[in-house]
């Protein structure tokens, strides 16, 4: 593990000794926004945890825009106006480059290692491009761990109805269906977790996979749930990012997140097959209405992507979608304009069939995941067209309906998963 730490970091950690809370901020060229995040974290620690020893760790991917300098020199702000009492301990601040594959997951790994080295009781991670973070976020994410015995706190935000479509269309319904916990933002980006869980994460040998990139969020959430850690949620209000998100190419992002999720289905097959229903996950914080930034979505472009995908990738789809699914998909996808629609059941079956194909390596996994992008865009366009005139509450009900379809179709997934497994065993044995 010492390999993860540069010499200066080792010396710094030895000097600090121990800490109660470690707050990690992964970054890559975020000089523009990270100062605000560091200030919010500093004030949050001073205000809500004045008696705790805390360390802020910036795990940087080699920024060239002085991100690390901004982290080290960001001022806490007008402390007298913000704080009722002054902290007993100094809050340390570290900015260090991480080792390994460039990506958010590798940055987190260094943060986990720091938390373990300092024997931290709680660890919080927040994105470095947040514009809506407040000091209260640190309390909401850390206190359930420090004082209520929770191991993992996922964020809960209000988002625009078109925002977070991978979450709404795949990750949230599937996490709930497979692992039985209704975590609304399983890949939210901001998390609180115990030192025990951080140490458990470090034991896993996943750091050469997509978990080292954008797959980290879903991997953390599923690992926590599937391994029986105590999971909660914290209401954080609205999540507003900086407009610029380096490396946020849809295909790569989609591939890394969905690939990690499908891969976890193989690892925790014995867990999700036992789950029959879902539990509500406790929500910390006081939910309040917030305004969200308006979004515009180019559905025509997405519909065109889906139509082209179905037309050009037919050979690939026929290798993992059932004949009936492919016929249905072709029929639905070639309707234009407002008539374009991909029904829930068809969508769910496509995702389940893709998950089975991924597990049994029916075709190259990279190709399989890439081929899902046009289908995902088609489904997103269908969803956007469907909820254009809906309120936020109606959209939540619509997502709830999709979750129920995922749950209703779970026997189909289990049956075909097992059948494909038997078929493979048979083919290998003769």
């Amino acid at each position: 593990m010492d390999d993860l730490f540069p010499t200066e970091l080792k010396a710094r950690l030895a000097q600090i000794g121990e800490a109660d809370i470690v707050v990690g901020i992964p970054s890559y060229n975020n000089a523009r926004t990270i100062g605000h995040v560091v200030r919010a974290v500093s004030v949050g620690l001073a205000k809500y945890f004045p008696a705790q020893r805390s360390v802020i760790v910036n795990s940087d991917g080699g920024s060239k825009d002085k991100t690390q300098e901004v982290v080290m020199h960001a001022e806490g702000g007008a402390d007298d106006l913000l704080l009722v009492s002054h902290p007993v301990h100094t809050s340390y601040r570290i900015s260090t480059p991480y080792h390994g594959i460039p990506g958010k997951g590798s940055a987190f790994r260094t943060i986990f290692a720091v938390a373990r080295q300092l024997n931290a009781r709680a660890c919080v991670v927040v994105d470095s491009d947040l514009r809506s973070i407040t000091p209260g976020w640190i309390e909401l994410l850390a206190r359930p761990v420090l004082e209520h015995g929770y191991d993992y706190i996922a964020p809960y935000y209000h988002r625009h109805k078109y925002d977070g479509t991978i979450t709404n269309g795949i990750i949230y319904p599937m996490t709930r269906t497979l692992y039985g916990k209704s975590v609304r933002q399983p890949i939210g980006g901001e998390f609180g977790f115990s030192g025990t869980l951080a140490a458990r994460y470090l034991e896993k040998d996943v750091w050469d996979t997509d978990v080292a990139r954008f797959g980290i969020d879903i991997w953390m959430t599923v690992t926590a749930i599937a391994e029986g850690f105590r999971v909660g949620q914290a209401y954080l209000g609205a999540k507003i990012h900086d407009a610029k998100d380096p490396g946020a190419d849809l295909t790569s992002m989609f591939r890394q997140v969905i690939g990690s999720f499908f891969s976890l289905m193989g690892s925790y097959e014995n867990v999700w097959k036992q789950v029959q229903s879902h539990d509500t996950v406790p929500l910390f914080g006081f939910p309040f209405e917030v305004g969200v930034e308006p979004l515009t979505v180019n559905t025509d472009r997405m519909i065109h992507a889906a139509q082209q995908g179905v037309s050009d990738l037919r050979e690939i789809y026929s290798s993992f979608l059932s004949a009936q699914t492919l016929v249905d998909l072709t029929n639905y996808v070639h309707r234009n304009g407002k008539g374009f629609h991909i029904p829930d059941q068809l969508w769910v079956r496509m995702i389940y069939q893709a998950a089975i194909a991924y597990h049994y390596r029916v075709l190259d996994r990279e190709h399989l995941l890439q081929s899902l992008v046009p289908l995902y865009l088609g489904r997103t366009a269908s969803f956007v067209l469907e909820v254009t005139d809906s309120t936020a509450t109606q959209v939540e009900e619509r997502i709830e309906g999709l979750c129920q379809v995922f749950e209703n179709e779970k026997p189909y997934l289990t049956e075909y998963w097992d059948a494909a497994g038997k078929e493979k065993v048979h083919a290998q044995s003769v």
């Binding site: 479509t165 690939i316 997103t380």
Partner: protein, 233 residues
């Protein structure tokens, strides 16, 4: 008179009869070898076909997408049929070599020796071609997916072009292994390929200059606009 008759008819006939005593057994042996070998090759083909069917070979190949390609050739009924016929062809090759060896004439011995020497080249060429098929398939599929996800209209054309390019390279290397002149093929391909690229460049640069500019502008504008406002995670 008798002497002339002996010289013109009996002596050649005797010589022919004498030579025939050497050649006919060899011919019979070659014929029998071919007949028995052919029968054995047929039996091996039948057995291979049954074994491949038992192993659900067709089903396995179906998943790779090669099955459609094999069926489209119209020559083979199924991947198992192709496999069985391939084994039969190999068997036939060995039977013919065996028969030639059995003939034990200087020409046949030399032919067998040269063929045996050539076998490593054949294997190398076969492997290169096999690798070419696999690699071209992988790369063309990657190109197809990248082009579709970038929403390029000619995605399949691009994928096809990539496949032809990689296969041409594999064929040229295989021909080199077989010591068959590959230069004409390479030159012909280079001329055609360069011609296509040149023609497209001229067409795009002159004929569709405004359209290209507008398309690129629209592409950049729309992708930036969407990235700024729309988050998937």
């Amino acid at each position: 008179m008798r002497s002339l008759f002996d010289r013109m008819l009996l002596e050649p006939f005797n010589r022919l009869a004498e030579q025939s005593t050497h050649v006919v057994p060899i011919l019979i042996m070659v014929l029998v070898t071919l007949l028995v070998g052919g029968f054995l090759a047929y039996c091996v083909r039948w057995l291979t076909y049954r074994l491949l069917q038992l192993a659900r070979f067709d089903h396995l190949v179906q998943r790779t997408g090669f099955a459609g390609m094999i069926e489209r050739t119209g020559v083979f009924r199924s991947p198992a049929d192709l496999g069985a016929r391939f084994v039969q062809a190999l068997m036939w090759l060995f039977v013919v070599l065996f028969a030639l060896s059995a003939a034990d004439t200087p020409a046949s011995v030399e032919l067998v020796r040269r063929f045996v020497d050539y076998i490593p080249n054949l294997i190398a060429a076969g492997l290169v071609l096999l690798l070419g098929v696999v690699v071209s398939r992988m790369i063309s599929r990657s190109a197809l997916l990248a082009a579709v996800n970038a929403q390029w209209p000619a995605a399949r054309l691009i994928a096809g072009g990539v496949r032809v390019l990689v296969m041409t390279l594999a064929i040229v290397i295989a021909l080199e292994q077989l010591h068959i002149g590959s230069l004409p093929l390479l030159v012909a391909f280079a001329i055609v390929f360069a011609g296509i690229v040149f023609a497209l460049a001229i067409a795009f640069g002159l004929g569709a200059r405004d359209m290209a500019r507008q398309w690129l502008e629209a592409k950049v504008r729309s992708s930036v606009a969407e990235e700024e406002v729309f988050r998937h995670l």
